[in-house]
Amino acid sequence: MAEAHPVGFQWVMEAKRKGAKVFHVDPRFTRTSAVADEYVPIRAGTDIALLGGVVRYILDNELDFREYVLAYTNAATIVSEEFSDTEDGDGFFSGFDPETGTYVQDSWQYEGHEGSSGSGHTAQERDSAAGLTHESHGAPVGGQTRRDETLQHPRCVYQILKRHFSRYTPEMVERVCGISQAQFLELARAWTANSGRNRTGMLIYSVGWTQHSVGVQYIRTGAIIQLLLGNMGRPGGGVMALRGHASIQGSTDIPTLFNLLPGYLPMPHHAEHPSFDEWVDSIRHPGQKGFWGNARSFAASLLKAYWGDAATPENDFCYGYLPRLTGDHGTYQQVLNMIDGKIKGYFLLGQNPAVGSAHGRAQRLGMANLDWLVVRDLFMIESATFWQNGPEVTTGEIVPEECRTEVFFLPAASHVEKEGTFTQTQRLLQWREKAVEPPGDARSELWFFYHLGHKLREKLADSPLPRDRALLDLTWDYPTHGPHAEPSAEAVLREINGYDVATGRPLSGFAEARADGSTAIGCWIYSGVYADGVNQAARRRSRHEQDWVAAEWGWAWPANRRILYNRASADPDGNPWSERKRYVWWDAEKSEWTGYDVPDFEKTKPPSYRPPAGASGPEGIAGDDPFVMQGDGKGWLYAPSGVLDGPLPTHYEPVESPVRNPLYGQQANPTRKMYAHPVNSVNPSPPQEHAQVFPYVFTVSRLTEHHTAGAMSRTVSPLAELQPEMFVEVSPALAGEVGLTHLGWAHLVSGRAVIEAKVLVTDRLTPLRVDGRIIHQVWLPYHFGFEGLVTGDSANDLFGISLDPNVLIQESKVGTCDVRPGRRPIGPALLELVADYQRRAGIVPGQHAPAVTTDDEGKEHGAS
């Protein structure tokens, strides 16, 4: 955190000054480790084993915050008797279908709700990254559940959890993660000590956690611990995702993602959502409790914002205009389709996949096989010049005279040359004022898309084709200003906020959304950001003039709420758990919720409220159910639906690992998304043969002085000067083993690529004892490429493409490689070296590893 989010880290140091104990778990000793109380080196890709160990420690010693757990989580809920755990299935839950490599989730449900998992199409849910739609709300679940408040029933969630993690002992943590038992116990003791009425503990992760084939389950494990310790919805608690880009939170809220529409509404699927009603019902689940019951209003209001007068209740608000998914249309599938010649044109908007995405060679070969490519950026990036300067030009795989891709480079406006909002990592929208005009031809994306839209509509003005109606009927009339006719970002923000169609009055929040076409809302979760016609995101009341919650600085979704589910900061009766942790509470005299923050609860619903039988929507949520977006109002220790690779997190080895999974016969996540394409490959892991060809683990991360794919830092002279060269960090022991010299060269080989780097021999990398042997890890920054003031080989070239099944994010934080002294070969010899490694490792391009490995000693069955 001190490396990648230095200014955010000041608050960790504040907490430390006040007595907090700071643990830093990382494969590499960093600036964070240097000031932490305890540095815990870990084998990359084993976090679930470590966190699962903490869960077991809590349960075995009964250290959970029992009052909180009983009242606010699903610990007491009874699960179907059809459910069987990974303990019984050698790493598989019940319901696995080896044909599709996915689960049928019926047996995971609460007792009595076996038929209501809403799944049965988990392969399709994987293709559409359906897990992402749960960012603002829980997955569907039956609300009326059987519970055992004594937590003794063998099928209650508490007991299932206990059994599931029973083998995640300190010995097992040591064996899997390479963390000593003493250090593990110190971590577990400190974490569990910060629990209860008076204390909270915080879990902070950076989004490298998402870049694993089990990424979603990493975060689930963290959430389980935080729920057990009563750390959710309370000040000083929570699971804090430190996102890596200025508005990456905003980019999912108002998504430019294939499977989502604004506010986490799903893009419709051709078979599942043929009609507006079916689409809406798949979101709101009629009869279900919780706030998602209003989905029809949010969906109708979005379509109304898109298609204005043309969208009417009679024509389902132009629902028919929406394009339909048929499968996986994610960025990695797209790149493989480019290589196969299926895609004509590609827009890159401030993004540099030639360096920043996994398997850089595949990215560049894909871009070299387009009709046209539009690159909009501040600088001439690698993704614009691959045809001229890319490594494949050196190897002869791309020949400029034979490369057909037509490239348009359009300069973009910088953050000071346009106005608009970023959503930072805590869901806070902050408006930026424009300081200066952009230089020359540089323009904002707002300008580009607004004027592109007008060009398209002009060209299609007389079109009789039905398919062009969606463009021609689109509301596209934003006011413009200035010499370049810049569209008004504030007018767009007003549409995002939503307005009353008849009067144009900006809505005060999503509670005003209507399903009859009388409201238009661009993104329902952002509704309120323009309440009263005021740009709430532009508020800048000084921190010196308000309390510590600072509610008048910017605007947080939803409803300017700074801590989600903050009803949980009060006990079931509505009183603060303690004076020290007072945050939101029930004011009995005024009969309303009050506190330092906007209460995340219906303002006048008393703690004693109990829903009438059969109640649905918000009405179905009791006065002591804080998790109002969940169908049962509870925090989920166990997820009966919504997580495609299991209701509980399970340790699987990374897709590429030198180690056989010590916990189960099943080696890696059996539901991961794999691509059998000639350009893609996976290095062999046990129980496959030849894993020793790639004996070392490599991981990548950021330097303080560089930013992601380098376009915003390798081009900036002070930053380029601070970190001028690509390098690899290796331990003295590995340097000795391989014959590397400090400040000399090394090259690293995977089944995809070979890259070179200067060698930094350092104690910051610790050889770990794992399952009885020494595992060496090396570390690389992933910022370098072949353009800019400072250049170097790209670490992401080493990775293949394997994805998490829930969100289709690639495993690019851990892989295996070989490390060799000296520089890499150049030209065709480079390709020969990689081909030689492929031969030795038995890699057949186009084939991937067996998904199922429980059949002992590597006999393959299942997907191939």
Partner: protein, 189 residues
């Protein structure tokens, strides 16, 4: 120069008699530095902004002189950052004023070995034509069972996560209306 002025000119005197006994502030200030004026004092305007690098969301004050960015500093009012910026945030003036920034449209023809210049409006027009052609070539009205698809799989997009919410909103809205659904973002990566 009187004796008194002469003595007060000594930093050590000011250090011993003034409010800066350690001599690390006002006492050590020379006449030259006293005569200097901060760029932030002489700016024509100040824009309140947000750092474009990581997602912490540090407040920035962007100082402008003669239509150019003259300085970018941390915003001390911000409850998030309390005026601090990291090495990257501190370098953001160098980012926006970098001589390496491209300020004109560049165009590479198929099979060409070099870049050429192109007018912005011409480029926009050519891109619009190519979008329409790609739609034409790859449009899918319905699936094999006659269910609506309304889409093209011939167009892809990958956006960075330094785009504004308002920009993402228009990007998604326009692409969706043209039937392009392969719209992705760094958030997937």
């Amino acid at each position: 120069m009187g004796l008194r002025t002469f003595i007060e000119g000594w930093p050590v005197y000011r250090q011993l008699t003034g409010t800066d006994p350690l001599g690390r502030g006002a006492a050590a200030k020379s006449d030259v530095s006293r005569a200097l004026t901060a760029r932030t004092d002489t700016a024509d305007s100040v824009a309140r902004s947000v750092c474009p690098y990581c997602a912490v969301g540090c407040g920035q004050r962007v100082f402008v002189k003669d239509g150019r960015v003259s300085q970018i500093e941390g915003d001390p009012d911000s409850p998030i950052s309390r005026g601090r910026l990291c090495p990257k945030g501190s370098a953001s003036k160098s980012l926006v004023t970098s001589p390496l920034r491209q300020t004109t449209v560049r165009y590479r023809r198929p099979y060409s070995t070099q870049w050429e210049d192109l007018e912005l409006d011409t480029a926009l027009d050519m891109i619009a034509d190519r979008i329409l052609a790609a739609r034409e070539q790859t449009w899918e009205d319905v699936d094999t069972q006659g269910r609506p698809l309304n889409r093209t799989l011939g167009i892809s997009s990958l956006g960075g996560a330094t785009l504004d919410n308002e920009e993402n909103y228009l990007i998604k809205k326009l692409f969706t209306a043209m039937g392009a659904l392969q719209i992705e973002n760094q958030a997937r990566i």
